[in-house]
């Protein structure tokens, strides 16, 4: 087995799982990406709103003193502004006064230690949200507002450490991963189950076949789904035709052995009875002739197949042409004219060797007996199988014909209908065997040409 050496193709299940796995990964990956994006945007815009509300919170809680400077509120809008380790930072740039000290910048207690990039001045009315911005080892989201507050020009920056949002995002991502992973695993399991369920009939066919191989069963039985029923039917046909073949081979072998026994017995008797000389010679000659015929007949049978299961349709005319060209050489002296009336749609479903054998034997017979004319007609018949039309072949001659009471005798296997013209007399027996193998029928009737008409029908109920 050369195939065993090369890599075996992937199983159907592995293929389906592989393809579905890729699709699933792509789908879940994209879903995760989209959800991640969406939630980040949501978190960011929520943060923006919160930071802006802190900006306005500072503005609303503050005052402008008589020195026309901005006075920061006692406590910020969130406690985290007022703790030195807080992660919310506020910076106000502009003329400010803290505890009577004038300055150009105010920082919330949380922002005192950190060197924050919150030094830009914005024009009044300018609103900005940035982030995450990385500066001196800290990542920030920054909401800024430029404003003229009671005639004092101020720029207010409120920032939050990005780690907070990142933490939220991380929590969300972990949840997402757990859920999507679970979903993927669930889908894969479901897919596996579906696959096993849908491939079960295939496994059933294969175990049934194994049983047929082992001889536990005759054929594939049981209900198969629609997609497999035709395959099962074909396999059954194949099994049947193989079985017919096998029994044919057995029969042929036993026929051969049995039929050779008779002439052998006759010769042995003659030898035992002490006959000698001319009489013995004649007996031996006669029996050898008989054995010749038997062997020739069985050999011809061996050459025929009768396979119909996977036969391709073959046209009649080219093969008939070949046979007639051959016969016209052999029977050149007979000056027989062979005409064809072959319908263009006529097809033989079988082996070309078998068609040649049918045409050859019947046409040769016709050439032997004809006075001057042989006619071969072929036409399709509506058959038992709509995809496979039947076939009718008629071979006629204008010879003496066959008397009605001789026909039955002629159709008996091995009877030589032709004593006058030399030949093996086994042609018709082979034709009958072939017709039987193809489940066809043979009729012999008088022809309108004057001689005999052999009518063969195939593929008809």
């Amino acid at each position: 087995m050369a195939r065993a050496a090369s890599r075996r193709p992937l199983s159907l299940q592995a293929r389906s799982l592989f393809a579905a796995g890729i699709a699933l990964a792509a789908f879940l990956g994209l879903t995760g990406f989209a959800l991640d994006k969406a939630i980040y945007e949501t978190l960011r815009s929520a943060l923006q709103e919160r930071l802006q509300s802190y900006v306005y919170g500072y503005l609303a809680a503050s005052e402008v003193g008589r020195s026309r400077r901005w006075l920061p509120p006692e406590i910020g809008p969130d406690a985290r502004f007022d703790r030195p380790d807080g992660d919310l930072y506020a910076v106000v740039i502009g003329p400010v006064e803290v505890d009577g000290v004038k300055a150009e910048e105010w920082r919330s207690p949380s922002a005192l230690r950190a060197t924050l990039p919150l030094t830009e001045k914005l024009k009044p009315g300018e609103v900005r949200f940035l982030g995450p911005v990385e500066a001196s080892g800290i990542r920030l989201y920054i909401a800024s507002l430029g404003v003229t507050w009671n005639n004092v020009k101020l720029t207010i920056h409120v920032a939050e450490n990005a780690a907070l949002l990142d933490d939220q995002l991380d929590v969300f991502r972990r949840t997402l991963l757990v859920y999507l992973g679970g979903l993927g695993a669930l889908l894969l399991l479901l897919l596996l189950a579906t696959l096993r369920w849908s491939l079960r009939p295939l496994r059933k066919v294969s175990t049934d076949l194994t049983r047929v191989e082992r001889g536990e069963r005759d054929r594939l039985s049981g209900d198969y789904p629609l997609e497999l029923s035709r395959l099962a039917a074909n396999i059954n046909q194949f099994i049947d035709s193989e079985r017919v073949h096998l029994s044919r081979y057995r029969n042929t072998l036993s026929d051969l052995a049995h039929s050779l026994k008779t002439p052998l017995a006759v010769m042995r008797n003659q030898l035992d009875s002490g006959e000698s000389g001319e009489e013995l010679r004649w007996t031996v000659l006669e029996q050898v002739g008989r054995m010749d015929q038997i062997v020739a007949y069985q050999l011809s049978r061996a050459a025929t197949s009768g396979h119909t299961t996977f036969a391709t349709p073959i046209p009649i005319e080219p093969y008939a042409e070949e046979v007639v060209a051959s016969l016209e050489k052999v029977y050149r002296d007979r000056r027989v004219l062979c005409e064809f009336e072959i319908d263009a749609g006529a097809r033989f479903y079988g082996e070309q060797g078998d068609l040649l054998e049918l045409l050859g034997n019947l046409l040769e017979n016709a050439f032997k007996w004809a006075k001057a004319r042989v006619l071969l007609s072929a036409r399709p018949l509506s058959g038992r199988d709509p995809r496979r039309p039947g076939l009718e072949l008629v071979i006629e001659d204008d010879g003496p014909g066959i008397p009605a009471d001789r026909i039955e005798h002629l159709l008996q296997r091995g009877v030589r209908g032709d004593e006058r013209v030399q030949g093996h007399g086994i042609g018709l027996a082979i034709v009958q065997d072939l017709i039987k193998a193809y489940r066809g029928s043979l009729d012999v009737s008088p022809s309108t040409l004057g001689g005999a008409a052999f009518t063969l029908r195939f593929g008809v109920v």
């Binding site: 011809s300 050459a303 051959s326 052999v330 002296d333 060797g353 054998e357 050859g360």
Partner: protein, 239 residues
């Protein structure tokens, strides 16, 4: 008549060759396809008998090769497998007749005679030239309705001349096609046969059927009675 016999089974080849020689044929034998092809190319045979299952080159290939190099002599196929597929492909390659083994030598002889006769344009098994009628089936000769008593060799010489009636047949042709190769060609046996034939066919010396063309050979001088119309038919190319 000179025959090429290509058969690999020695017993069959030898008995068949011996029988054919007894029947007055000149026989060349070959045991395989290549030898058969060599002989078939070099020697002007009247007919070839070729077994299909041959070593070195199959019978089918041999026939194809012989036809390809332009040899037109009739070919008889011998085969042990009587399937029509084989027969049809044999005829397609250029064979003219077939015989299934085992066969009766008489049938083979009858068929070979018919092949040779057809190849020279005679359609009927009796060759008629005026009052001389030669029956190739019974191997008898009648002159004006009464049987002429010929020996086997005399018959063969007359048959060859009548098959080629009207044509010049050289002495070499006659000796090659009728006698064995090792026959002494310089002897005057042929002249003796021709002389006897003339006396037996034409004791009154009125018909003068066999003409001597001095230094070149002989010609059967009486025209064919079937006017040779079949010549064209016989020369039809092989399908």
């Amino acid at each position: 008549m000179r025959i090429l016999l290509v058969e690999d089974e020695a017993p069959l080849r030898e008995t068949l060759a011996a029988r054919l020689k007894r029947e007055g044929f000149a026989v060349d034998t070959a045991a395989d396809g290549e030898e058969g092809l060599y002989l078939g190319r070099e020697v002007p045979f009247d007919v070839a008998i070729i077994d299909l299952g041959l070593p070195k080159m199959s019978g089918m290939e041999l026939i194809q090769e012989l036809r390809a190099v332009g040899q037109r002599f009739p070919i008889m196929i011998l085969t042990a497998r009587p399937s029509w597929q084989d027969k049809v492909s044999g005829f397609k390659q250029g064979a003219d007749d077939y015989l299934v083994k085992p066969f009766h030598v008489e049938e083979l002889l009858a068929r070979i005679n018919a092949l040779v006769r057809r190849a020279s344009g005679w359609t009927k098994p009796t060759l008629e030239c005026g009052p001389i009628v030669l029956d190739t089936t019974a191997q008898t000769v009648k002159v004006n309705g009464s049987a002429a008593d010929l020996t086997s060799y005399e018959y063969k010489v007359l048959e060859y001349l009548m098959l080629h009636a009207g044509e010049l047949v050289s002495k070499a042709d006659l000796t090659e096609h009728i006698y064995q190769q090792d026959f002494d060609r310089d002897s005057n046996v042929l002249e003796v046969f021709i002389g006897r034939l003339r006396r037996k066919l034409d004791p009154e010396n009125a018909l003068k059927p066999i003409e001597t063309v001095r230094g070149r050979g002989y010609r059967f001088a009486i025209a064919r009675s079937d006017n040779g119309a079949e010549k064209a038919e016989a020369a039809r190319p092989a399908e």
